[in-house]
């Protein structure tokens, strides 16, 4: 399992952790029931504070990606991947809608938006 923490980005560290673990679950690198490191050992390994990892795990748990059992640690929860995909797509639609509204008010053309979107999607 790889988790890469960059300190040269505005993205908070707990978000960097959640988004990478979510990605690993979505693309199947982590399967239902797979253990993920304990909060404290992950904090030690990536040199960040315990509460930062705790926040990341709480968010993952809230969104149904992992389950934490006291004394046993955290595991990838059983879930319907289609459902998760759908949820994520809804989120993307919301954001795009917002972008389209902003673009319309500013008179930005569809071609320009597609161009921007392509850049963002392929860059990361």
């Amino acid at each position: 399992m790889d988790i890469i923490i960059s300190s040269n980005t505005s993205k908070p560290i707990y978000e960097q952790i959640t988004s990478q673990i979510k990605a690993m679950i979505m693309n199947g690198d982590l399967q239902t029931g797979d253990p993920i490191p304990s909060m404290r050992s992950l904090a030690k390994s990536i040199h960040v504070s315990v509460i930062t990892v705790q926040k990341a795990y709480e968010d993952l748990q809230r969104d149904g990606f992992i389950e934490t059992t006291v004394g046993r640690g955290s595991f990838v929860s059983a879930q319907n991947r289609d459902f998760m995909q759908e949820e994520l797509q809804k989120k993307v639609e919301e954001h795009l809608n917002l972008a389209v509204e902003t673009a319309r008010t500013g008179g930005i053309k569809l071609e320009k938006m597609i161009e921007l979107l392509t850049i963002f999607y392929t860059e990361e």
């Binding site: 560290i13 904090a43 040199h47």
Partner: protein, 287 residues
């Protein structure tokens, strides 16, 4: 929540001096690291000394692992590992001899752990301590503090004067220490980038008073510093600013919720702040 250290209304005055600790209160939840920051002479070391009962407090309570420590409570002392800025081991001892002394002092002394830790730090067991570099001496002090198996570490500028590589190694040791969720650390440091890496909470102290205790993530992700022009500054509600500082061409305003502030006052740039910048505004800024 259970706390490793609870300080309530700690007060200490000195007869010949203006300096005082003025109702210092903060707590460290079990399993967390508290960074303790403030200017030189703001009261960090005095607070730590009062916690350790090496100076007598005038007032207030200090609970270590749920208990107040009196002069005779040596069993609580065993639970507290201490590293101060100045190391006071006798220079003529070698680490090997020092360990014998410590084994006589602490019932819980773990010789095996001491040997493992000193080996890991590459400390020469047969060399006299006075010949050690600062980095080596600090590592030795840390090895000693850890080897009587404490639950709470109190570190006063323990990483000061150390190079980045040694500091990184020591930060790793601290995180390893709190891997056990009963362990906690109180550490003062002027190297706030170290605290930004590993601390869970930050307490700011100024002129003997605690001015803020806050989750570190909250400070560096949610707090913000608004960079305002004079006319923008006029429009800001007083209740939306924690402190401000006028500079030649801009006014910096410390705000508690960066995103909410940006929504309310569009057009004002709000940066995230480092612990240093937040401290500067809290201490030098006007309110």
């Amino acid at each position: 929540m259970t706390y490793s250290l609870e300080i309530k209304n700690l007060t200490k005055t000195y007869p010949q001096s203006d300096f005082r600790l003025d109702n210092v209160s903060f707590s460290i939840p079990r399993g967390t690291i508290m960074g303790f920051v403030g200017e030189n002479g703001s009261g960090k070391t005095t607070t730590m000394n009062a916690v350790l009962n090496t100076i007598k407090k005038d007032n207030g309570t200090v609970k270590i692992l749920g208990r107040e420590m009196g002069d005779k409570d040596t069993d609580i002392r065993e639970q507290v590992g201490v590293v101060f800025d100045a190391v006071n081991f006798s220079g003529i001892l070698t680490p090997a001899k020092l360990a014998k002394v410590m084994a006589g002092v602490y019932k819980q002394w773990d010789q095996e752990f001491f040997l493992k830790t000193t080996a890991r730090f590459n400390i020469e067991m047969g060399k006299k301590i006075k010949q050690f570099s600062r980095g080596m001496t600090m590592k030795l002090a840390l090895a000693v503090a850890l080897s009587h198996r404490p639950q709470l570490l109190i570190l006063d500028e323990a990483t000061a004067g150390l190079d980045p590589i040694v500091r990184e190694e020591i930060l790793g040791v601290f995180l390893e220490f709190v891997e056990d969720e009963n362990h906690s650390i109180l550490m003062s440091s002027h190297i706030t980038s170290d605290l930004e890496k590993i601390a869970d909470y930050i307490t700011f102290i100024h002129h003997g008073k605690v001015i803020l205790t806050e989750k570190k993530d909250h400070l560096i992700y949610d707090y913000g510093i608004a960079r305002c022009k004079a006319e923008q500054f006029q429009l800001i509600d007083r209740t939306d600013m924690m402190a401000y500082k006028k500079r030649d061409y801009q006014i910096d305003v410390l705000v508690e919720n960066r995103k909410a502030f940006e929504r309310k006052y569009s057009g004002i740039v709000v940066d995230t702040g480092t612990i240093d910048e937040i401290m500067l505004l809290l201490i030098k800024g006007e309110r």
